[in-house]
């Protein structure tokens, strides 16, 4: 008797579970496409009491740079009936958080700023992004203004995103420190050897007074990027010996105290912006995304010194002005409840009109024209005479569009760690990179 009751009860429990799940699944499937708009119109009204439409946008480090907020403000001004809700995450955690949000297949986020090409590729292959080709065709969007960048973002010939920002590496410097030392500012045509020489000259002081000639943040990109600057190799390779001279330079500069100790930066979790802002380094190779950060910091009075930037140094035998960079694409979540509004935002954010707004804030966009450069150069707190440093002669992507790129970057990060803290020699590190990448790629 008891057994039968137990059996019946368990059947009941299982039945509740199954039907419970079943219902959820069914409703999820139905809201996939057609029903979503009806259902969402309702939820939209529910979202805000003034009857405004809500658009959710994901950003990273939104409070330290105007790169996203400027667009969001401009969009809200142009569309007074829309309220843009920002989901902000720290840059380090951004991709993880996005992964979790997208895996939940919820309606939000509607608009996604994509942090790197690797995550664009993975989100597109997981069908988490809305295809934009129909919208592009419908609104006759001219992709030629991006001078090829839009095509480079395509995955299997389909557009899932448009180029929002374009960033590349430049060499920042602290003019006050150079003036004090009586050394001429870095030029737009320096080899990496000349740069090291200059950094050596600019290193001074002891203890807490010490000023480092230059600053290498803990990213492996700040060594490996210069190795791929000539365009002959990428960070996905069979033979990594091309990294060797650049690691030799980084390790030598660290040993000689021209750059801050890697282990210290890593354990104390020191952000590069604080090092430059606190005038602890005379130079710093960093991406152009740091320009608006510095402009904002000068405007708010957080910092008060003269700064500038030059084009990034180049390897021997490579033409001056060769740089390494990356695009920041903007995309739409596949499960958005307001696809048309999201497209409106994407179109707005990547328009020539908005490029000018962003230029005023020192942000470089996917659309590069002489006009936008002029706008940037005349913006408040921009070091005007550095306008020429924004021009480049050759541009290579910092990482190739490769399906294993995130895994390979983990390998590069880990071995970079070991080389820079001196736990293995450069040769051992490079050998290890080679073996582990071969394991991933099946070479």
């Amino acid at each position: 008797m008891k057994k039968i009751v137990v059996f019946l009860l368990s059947v009941m429990m299982v039945a509740t579970l199954v039907t419970g799940c079943g219902k959820n699944d069914a409703s999820k499937d139905e809201t996939g496409n057609e029903q979503s708009e009806g259902a969402d119109a309702k939820s939209d009204e529910g979202k805000s009491d003034e009857g405004k439409k809500t658009l959710t946008v994901t950003t990273w480090d939104n409070d330290t740079t105007p790169q996203f907020q400027a667009t969001i403000d401009a969009f809200e001004t142009a569309h007074p009936d829309v309220n843009v809700e920002v989901i902000d995450t720290s840059a380090d955690e951004y991709n993880n958080k996005l992964t979790v949000m997208l895996a939940a297949e919820s309606k939000d986020p509607d608009v996604i700023f994509v942090k790197d090409m690797g995550s664009l590729l993975s989100m597109a292959s997981k069908k988490q992004l809305l295809g934009l080709d129909d919208y592009i065709a419908k609104d006759n969007v001219d992709l030629s203004v991006y001078s090829g960048a839009a095509e480079q973002l395509q995955v299997d010939g389909k557009s899932y995103s448009l180029p929002y920002r374009s960033d590349w590496y430049v060499l920042y410097y602290n003019k006050d420190l150079f003036d004090k030392a009586g050394v001429p500012y870095p030029s737009n045509d320096m080899t990496w050897a000349e740069y090291e020489e200059l950094a050596r000259k600019m290193t001074s002081g002891e203890g807490s007074e010490k000023v480092y000639g230059t600053h290498n943040h803990t990213w492996q990109a700040l060594v490996t990027n210069w190795a791929i600057q000539d365009g002959k190799n990428t960070v996905v390779a069979k033979d990594y010996s091309f990294l060797k001279p650049y690691y030799e330079q980084a390790v030598r500069m660290q040993k000689d105290g021209i750059i801050q100790d890697y282990a210290t930066l890593k354990t104390a979790n020191i952000h590069y912006s604080s090092v430059f802002k606190n005038q602890q380094c005379a130079m710093m190779p960093m991406g152009t995304w740091f320009i608006p950060t510095m402009m904002q910091s000068q405007a708010t009075g957080e910092t008060n010194f003269n700064w500038g930037f030059a084009t990034i140094p180049h390897p021997e035998g490579v033409k001056a002005g060769a740089t390494v960079g990356a695009l920041t694409p903007i995309a739409i979540g596949a499960n958005t409840d307001v696809p048309d509004l999201a497209w409106e935002f994407v179109k707005f954010a990547t328009s020539e009109e908005n490029a000018k707004t962003l230029a005023k804030n020192g942000v470089l966009t996917g659309i590069q024209t002489e006009e936008s450069l002029d706008i940037i150069a005349s913006a408040d707190n921009f070091p005007t005479e550095c306008k020429d440093a924004l021009k480049y002669t050759n541009y290579v992507f910092d990482r190739p569009l490769d399906e294993n790129i995130d895994e390979i970057r983990t390998v590069l990060d880990e071995e970079h760690d070991l080389i820079m803290i001196g736990e293995c020699t450069i040769d051992e590190g490079i050998k290890e990179i080679q073996e582990r990448v071969a394991e991933i790629k099946g070479y």
Partner: protein, 297 residues
């Protein structure tokens, strides 16, 4: 059906209805995901709407060839082998010391329990500063007492695991100390009195009364600690992130990385199944040992 049987059925139904709400929660949030991850371990899936593909035991085969998995496996064992015994001994000694009636005893008990309730992220960040190789207080002290080349702790492949183990012991011994304290209250004072009359000193009382009578607690503490050690993740994530290189990468780290960085959910589940198997085997061995070493009064 007799009335007796009917009453029994009714009683059972009432009982089950009490259990049901919790069981539903347990099934949805724990049991089903666990079963799902077993299923996933023989599949290939990227966590999206793309279909799962059955791959048989391929995931497990790849695990054997994966150097990162091997390293994580060894690191996890290393972490457990050092953390478990040291924490048990430290917790036991603390409990014995703090089981006396002196003034301010509750202050000391709180002080040792405090690390357990402190936020792990804060703990990790502060210990990282203490372990800083060049100007951190720990190395400054070591240099002061005459060690010319103190370990470089979290930035050294040899010492990073030791640093993590030290912090783990410091953080968790307080909790197990409380468990031991509770058990110590249960030991009858008459035993100690009798031993005193027989002329036993403090050490002998500890060796022949306290430790044997605490063995059931020690058994419990060891099982809990072992399981906890095998699933360690948070502290390592905060302190070293698995570095330098892969020197503190542990299994849960590997699982997280495979699932949420590389989007290989099948592969990650296979690693989780391996972890489950290890914990199961270790726990079974401990239960075997229970008969030999646990003494009940």
């Amino acid at each position: 059906m007799t009335s007796k049987q009917k009453r029994k059925v009714k009683n059972n139904l009432v009982g089950y209805s009490f259990v049901l709400p919790n069981l539903i929660g347990y099934s949805i949030f724990i049991l089903l995901p666990v079963i799902f991850s077993f299923v996933l371990s023989v599949m290939e899936w990227d966590g999206s709407r793309n279909p799962m593909v059955f791959v048989g035991l391929d995931n497990f085969k790849h695990l054997l060839e994966d150097s990162t998995f091997r390293i994580s496996f060894v690191n996890t064992i290393k972490y457990a082998v050092f953390t478990v015994p040291i924490t048990v001994v430290a917790a036991l000694l603390l409990a014995v010391l703090l089981n006396t009636k002196i003034k301010g005893i509750s202050f000391f008990r709180t002080a040792f329990f405090f690390p357990y309730i402190a936020s792990l992220v804060a703990v990790g960040a502060v210990w990282n500063m203490l372990f800083q190789p060049d100007y951190g207080p720990i190395n400054n002290f070591l240099r002061f007492i005459g060690i010319a080349n103190p370990p470089r702790w979290v930035v050294s492949t040899k010492w990073a695991m030791a640093a993590v183990i030290i912090v783990s012991i410091w953080k968790y011994m307080g909790y197990y100390m409380v468990v031991y304290l509770a058990a110590l209250q249960g030991i009858s004072p008459t035993l100690y009195e009798a031993a005193s009359i027989d002329g036993a000193n403090g050490w002998k009382k500890l060796r022949y009364i306290t430790i044997p009578l605490l063995t059931p607690t020690t058994f419990f503490v060891m099982i809990m600690l072992t399981i906890q050690c095998f699933k360690v993740f948070d502290l390592i994530y905060v302190m070293t992130g698995g570095g330098p290189g892969r020197s503190t990468n542990v299994l849960v780290n590997f699982i997280y990385d495979s699932a949420f960085v590389k989007f290989k959910f099948g592969y990650a589940s296979a690693a989780a199944v391996v972890l489950f198997a290890i914990v199961l085997v270790v726990t079974l061995i401990q239960f075997r040992g229970e008969k030999k070493f646990v003494k009940y009064m």
